[in-house]
């Protein structure tokens, strides 16, 4: 038990404060960085002068896939000013003493109120889920725009704190992809801010532009003026004319002294000499060396990207509160799975079939991989599809050929298990859970996925939609 020096009316006990019916938890430098125990608290106060520690906690909470974490009000106390964009933009307020608890309590209540208004329906893809997350955050904080902030720690040189908080700085290009997706869906509207060029190998934005020799790519070159002596038409680099004894300029062809530029000589251009390959050239190549991966790239092969200020569109504002339906085409394209409408139709036929054959038992199941978003953050869009394909392959290999699978979104899938009673279905699902966990663990550096599933016997007299809704509710509630 620890006590902090606070106003008499406020008592801190085990880093908890109860104030105006809100339960605050104080994270200080001695606290554990595990955030899962924080779920029961209404708001968090980070009490640390250590900016890196505060940032770590902010990232963990705001980057969490669960809205109960990422929307949680977070305040800073004893904050040592930092230029870090995440730290500056992803807190809900800064206080200097616990006397100001009243102020942040009001903010927390407002956020809390707005949070209760949100719709948490699941969306199909990783991008959709990320955009939904950002929209939810913006809605609860009354934010209207997503502004890029120059950031040395970001791989592309700019950061959008509200979305970048979900990614490591090296994965910042994914932020642009997700914003692009949101733009395509009409949820956000871009206003051009800046153009950047990225490495075509690693997407890094820190590039060193250099003039290099067109023959050997070395930047070790020196430039000289070319001098044209009018009377004898000799032309050569300035060093040809330089008299080593008195530093005067004398024509090497006719031995006349150069007197007056524009009258007896001029300098019509410049010549470069490569000290590496000993060749001469006038038109050097401009190449960009990526500081991250050291790749040397011709500038025309750099990847241009627009950095925009994004504003919420009308659709975006509505979607922030009420959720939105994304096309979900990506998850429907996965070989071995069928689309949700087809799944529902097949389920309807199965219900009709078992109506007539009451002896026959079939089941439906839902599998949700709770933290798979964490994995998609690392793998990006291509990785997401590949993971889903592998999961479908694995599931298909371990169910009957008559069974069918459909993705609700990139973390949730439904199974129709034909002629399979509840016990058998549950055993199948347990087996699938273990296999999927193993698959991910083996392929992604011991990443532990959290898989929840629910099985229900198919009821002959209830509609397919109703039964699926019931199943989903039971899983998530």
């Amino acid at each position: 038990m620890s006590l902090k020096v606070v106003p008499q009316s406020i008592e801190i006990r085990n880093n908890k404060i109860e104030f105006e019916n809100l339960l605050f938890f104080i994270i200080d430098s001695t606290s554990s960085v595990k955030i899962e125990p924080l779920i029961g608290y209404d708001a968090i106060i980070i009490d640390s002068k250590d900016a890196d520690f505060a940032k770590l906690i902010l990232r963990k909470i705001r980057g969490h896939y669960n809205p109960e974490f990422y929307l949680k009000p977070i305040f800073l106390i004893n904050y040592k000013e930092s230029k870090d964009p995440i730290l500056q933009n992803m807190n809900d307020g800064i206080i200097h003493s616990y006397d100001q608890l009243k102020d942040i309590a009001d903010v927390a209540k407002q956020i809390f109120l707005k949070t209760t208004q949100l719709d948490y329906q699941l969306v199909a893809t990783f991008e959709a889920q990320m955009v939904k997350k950002v929209l939810n955050y913006m809605y609860t904080r009354d934010l209207k725009t997503l502004k890029p902030i120059p950031d040395l720690n970001s791989a592309i040189g700019y950061t959008y704190p509200e979305i970048s908080v979900n990614f490591d700085s090296a994965e910042e290009t994914q932020v642009l992809e997700i914003l692009g997706w949101g733009e395509k869906e009409g949820l956000i509207w871009p206003d051009f801010f800046e153009r950047i060029y990225l490495c075509n190998n690693c997407n890094g934005g820190f590039l060193s532009y250099r003039e290099v020799c067109p023959h050997c790519n070395s930047s070790n070159s020196s430039a000289q003026d070319l001098v044209h002596h009018f009377p004898c038409a000799y032309i050569g680099p300035l060093s040809d004319f330089r008299n080593t004894i008195d530093n005067s300029l004398t024509c090497p062809k006719c031995n006349k002294a150069l007197r007056h530029i524009g009258v007896d000589y001029d300098k019509p251009s410049i010549i470069h000499h490569c000290n590496n390959c000993d060749k001469n050239f006038q038109d050097f190549f401009v190449k960009a060396k990526c500081i991250s991966c050291t790749q040397d790239i011709e500038v025309q092969y750099l990847i241009p990207k627009s950095i925009n200020i994004y504003k919420l569109t009308k659709r975006g504002r509505t979607a922030a509160a009420n959720g939105f339906l994304s096309s979900g085409r990506e998850v429907e394209d996965i070989f071995g799975a069928i689309s949700m409408p087809v799944f529902k139709t097949l389920l309807h036929y199965e219900i009709e079939r078992i109506k007539d054959n009451t002896e026959q038992k079939s089941s439906i199941a839902i599998i949700n991989i709770e933290n798979i978003l964490e994995l998609y953050k690392k793998t990006g869009k291509k990785g997401e599809k590949s993971i889903l394909e592998n999961i479908v392959n694995l599931v298909r290999e371990n169910i009957r050929t008559t069974d069918f699978i459909a993705f609700e979104n990139s973390s949730t899938l439904y199974l129709g298990l034909i002629n399979c009673d509840y016990l058998q279905s549950e055993a199948d699902l347990l087996n699938l859970k273990t296999l999927i966990e193993k698959l991910i663990r083996n392929n992604f550096n011991d990443f532990e996925v959290k898989i929840n599933f629910k099985v229900k016997l198919l009821q002959p007299f209830n509609k397919s939609e109703f039964q699926l809704d019931e199943l989903t509710k039971e899983l998530f509630d």
Partner: protein
């Protein structure tokens, strides 16, 4: 018909002495120099080539074995449109150990963009550009400054070359180590474009293909054409390259001769060029060329006529022949005209047509006799035959008048220094220094 009868009667009544008196100009100068000397030299050359055959074959072998690096320099202004064609045609060359250096003398069109692109794609080894125009000599010198080859081959961007042209122009260097420069055989590509171009094609046949074999054999070959010439780099380095033009081709040839090198013409190294298609353009070109005779032969290199330490008889003869047959005879032709006008006034009506007949017969004879000696013919003999009667007017009158104009302009007004072929800044300096 009556005139024809009278003309024939008159001419048949004239004895040999009187014929010679009336047409002395033709017999002494034209027929002697441009037929008798040329035909005898050509026959000797053809005969001699039998004995040289083995030496030439050995020289070729030596060239192909040693594979010296050759620097092809192509100076020019606003020539970008021709460069891609040139680069492609060079891929066909039998001799490939060359570096191609293109020099842009302050072009104001897309030349720089085109050439930079070709350079980036490895089709040109080096491209240098003077943002400020400096004249052709300075552009050529810039190429020379950065050339790495043992031999320098000077090209014009708008010319095309036989696929063995580079090989053939290099062979003489290996046949005779004293050879410092070799001139290529420039032929007219666009000879069908206009009458003007056809007449020039005939002229080039005569003065270049045959005329230069003769002067080369006699050791008095004096102009290596800028369109196609090869030089020992060592010789050019000793001279510091080209001097200010116009007439820089003839000037560099004289300077190399003065160093003691032999200058050679190689008829098998063929280059095709486009000549002016209108008489107006031709006049401009020839005025520039002809002025250079006065500026370079009589002014800049007049020391060739003076016996001193560097005096060489072949150089002296080369200059004397050049000055005699171009300047003196040009003036003398007017004396001849006056001579006829005053001394044969009543017979002038027969002398003029007779002169035309004599020259025309001579031209036909030369064309037919020299044709077998030409390795390359653009077109069968018959194509040109119908144009030969015009040559007397083209060569004997038109070009003579242009030449006279050029000499007067240069002798009395030093007009070559005002020619905008060269930038004014260079011409001012050249004039002040009497270069």
């Amino acid at each position: 018909m009556r005139f024809l009868d009278e003309f024939i009667n008159y001419m048949s009544s004239v004895d040999a002495a009187k014929l010679f008196r009336m047409f002395w100009f033709f017999f002494i100068f034209e027929f002697f120099r441009f037929f008798l000397i040329e035909i005898s030299t050509i026959i000797f050359w053809k005969f001699d080539s039998i004995f040289r055959k083995k030496g030439i074959a050995d020289a070729r072998l030596s060239l192909l074995k040693s594979q010296p690096l050759v620097s092809i320099i192509v100076p020019g202004r606003n020539e970008g449109k021709h460069i891609f064609k040139l680069v492609n045609s060079l891929k066909e060359q039998t001799y490939q150990n060359f570096e191609l250096i293109v020099i842009d003398d302050g072009s104001d069109d897309d030349t720089a963009v085109i050439c930079r692109n070709l350079e980036h794609n490895g089709m040109i080894n080096a491209f240098y550009r003077n943002d400020v125009r400096g004249g052709k000599a300075s552009a050529a010198n810039l190429g020379l400054r950065y050339a790495r080859g043992e031999f320098i081959v000077h090209f014009d961007a708008d010319c095309s070359y036989d696929r063995d042209a580079i090989e053939n122009i290099l062979v003489p260097f290996f046949y005779n180590p004293k050879i410092g420069a070799v001139g290529g055989n420039v032929q007219v590509r666009n000879y069908k474009e206009s009458l003007c171009a056809t007449l020039q094609a005939l002229e080039y046949y005569d003065t270049i293909s045959i005329g230069r074999i003769t002067t080369s054999e006699l050791g008095i070959y004096r102009v290596i054409s800028g369109a196609f010439g090869a030089f020992r780099k060592e010789a050019l380095d000793r001279l510091g390259g080209w001097d200010i033009g116009p007439g820089l081709d003839g000037d560099i040839t004289v300077k190399i001769r003065k160093l003691g090198y032999v200058i050679h013409f190689e008829p098998t190294a063929v280059c095709q060029t486009s000549v002016p298609v209108t008489f107006n353009r031709l006049i401009k070109q020839r005025l520039r060329w002809d002025k250079s005779l006065i500026r370079f032969r009589l002014r800049k290199h007049r020391d060739v006529f003076i016996p001193n330490d560097s005096f060489r008889f072949s150089n002296f003869i080369s200059f004397v022949e050049n000055v005699t047959y171009n300047l003196i005879l040009n003036v003398k032709w007017y004396f001849y005209l006056l001579d006829m006008l005053f001394n044969f006034t009543s017979q002038l009506v027969f002398i003029v047509p007779m002169n035309i007949v004599l020259y025309t017969v001579n031209n036909f004879m030369k064309f037919l006799v020299f044709s077998p000696f030409r390795d390359r013919k653009n077109e069968g003999i018959t194509y040109f035959l119908i144009y030969i009667p015009l040559m007397v007017f083209y060569f004997g009158y038109f070009l003579r008048i242009v030449r006279t104009t050029a000499y007067i302009q240069e002798i009395f007004f030093k007009a070559s220094y005002k020619d905008n072929w060269n930038p004014a800044k260079s011409s001012r300096q050249a004039k002040a220094l009497k270069l």
